[in-house]
């Protein structure tokens, strides 16, 4: 196993990004990028464990940088106070060795997937809703990918999680799995295509291997996605 001191980008500093940042800050990484433009809200505090009550109302990145500095003063932390957007995504992910995507909406998930594939950067996607969470590792070759699993941005017929909420401990467990997968990817471990699901109600982990789809629009035999087209990422937001 090779040892790489990676530069790691977190897309979304929320229920997943916060515990992931804490785990990464204690790891032997070269730097940590944070991409988010939200402010801390009272309702975040049960699962966004970088933040304290006194942080409510201030930008998440401002609070996160201060919290991480207390834990690991020597770790370079790079703030990107923006959402991941079609016009910044590829350039942003290209600055890093691996991306951890923990956003709360499908449009950003697909955008991150496409940007990383186009930039040749490995990514670990993660989501958590109520008692269940998933993490999917996509290797540097970009296949199999998030689109092999879920194909395209939902347009209203996906399961509605807008009012579901997220159990804090579930987000923490899934974020830990996400960090494990990311560190394995940059160490050269063959975890690309591994899909980890966690059922927090029964405390059961399941691990499956996603198979590349030949007709995948991103990583199939004749991929149609060759660039980032903003219209492709219009979607309904789904709060976490």
């Amino acid at each position: 196993m090779k040892h790489v001191r990676a530069r790691v980008l977190l897309v979304g500093v929320g229920g997943l990004g916060c515990p992931a940042a804490l785990a990464l800050a204690r790891s032997d990484i070269a730097g940590l990028g944070l991409c988010d433009d939200d402010r801390v809200e009272q309702t975040n505090l049960h699962r966004q464990i970088l933040f304290r009550a006194a942080d409510v109302g201030i930008p998440k990145l401002e609070a996160a940088v201060l919290a991480l500095r207390e834990i690991r003063p020597d770790l370079p932390v790079y703030s990107h106070p923006t959402r991941l957007l079609p016009d910044n995504a590829v350039a942003l992910v290209r600055e890093y060795d691996v991306v951890l995507e923990g956003s709360d909406n499908f449009a950003t998930k697909f955008l991150a997937a496409d940007a990383c594939a186009l930039a040749g950067v490995p990514i670990v996607h993660a989501s958590a809703v109520r008692w269940i969470g998933t993490a999917l590792a996509v290797g540097v070759r970009g296949r199999p990918c998030y689109r092999c699993l879920f194909e395209d941005v939902p347009k209203g017929d996906s399961p509605n999680c807008a009012e579901a909420g997220v159990m804090g401990p579930v987000a923490g467990v899934v974020a830990a799995a996400q960090v494990d997968l990311a560190l394995a990817l940059v160490s050269g471990q063959p975890v690309g295509g591994q899909l980890v699901t966690f059922d927090g109600w029964h405390d059961v982990f399941r691990r499956r291997t996603v198979v590349r789809r030949d007709d995948c629009t991103l990583c199939g035999r004749t991929p149609r996605i060759q660039s980032i087209e903003p219209v492709a990422y219009a979607s309904h937001a789904c709060a976490g």
Partner: protein, 90 residues
């Protein structure tokens, strides 16, 4: 043949909150038809006119049915079906 089907959180409103139900059938398609009889509305959440909805993955054991024989995938005694929907939250 009865098969255990693991129901994800977003679909449990259709199963009275149950996270695991049983249904009868020799193939995935037959099990879904039986699920629909027992839990009306669930088929529409899993399938559209092209087959398995693109935001849902149906597994038999550890294998996605898309990479087996699709909805015609034959079930063996002891097989479990699990449903993994796309979720976004964190």
């Amino acid at each position: 043949m009865e098969t255990i089907v693991r129901i994800p959180t977003p679909l449990r409103t259709l199963t009275g909150g149950a996270d695991e139900v049983t249904a009868t059938g020799g193939t995935v398609s037959e099990v879904i038809e039986d699920l629909e009889k027992r839990h009306p509305g669930i088929r529409e959440r899993l399938l559209d006119d092209k087959g398995v909805r693109r935001f849902v993955n149906i597994y038999v054991g550890e294998e996605d049915v898309r990479f087996l024989d699709g909805l015609k995938t034959a079930l063996k005694p002891g097989d479990q079906i699990s449903i993994v929907p796309a979720i976004a939250g964190g």
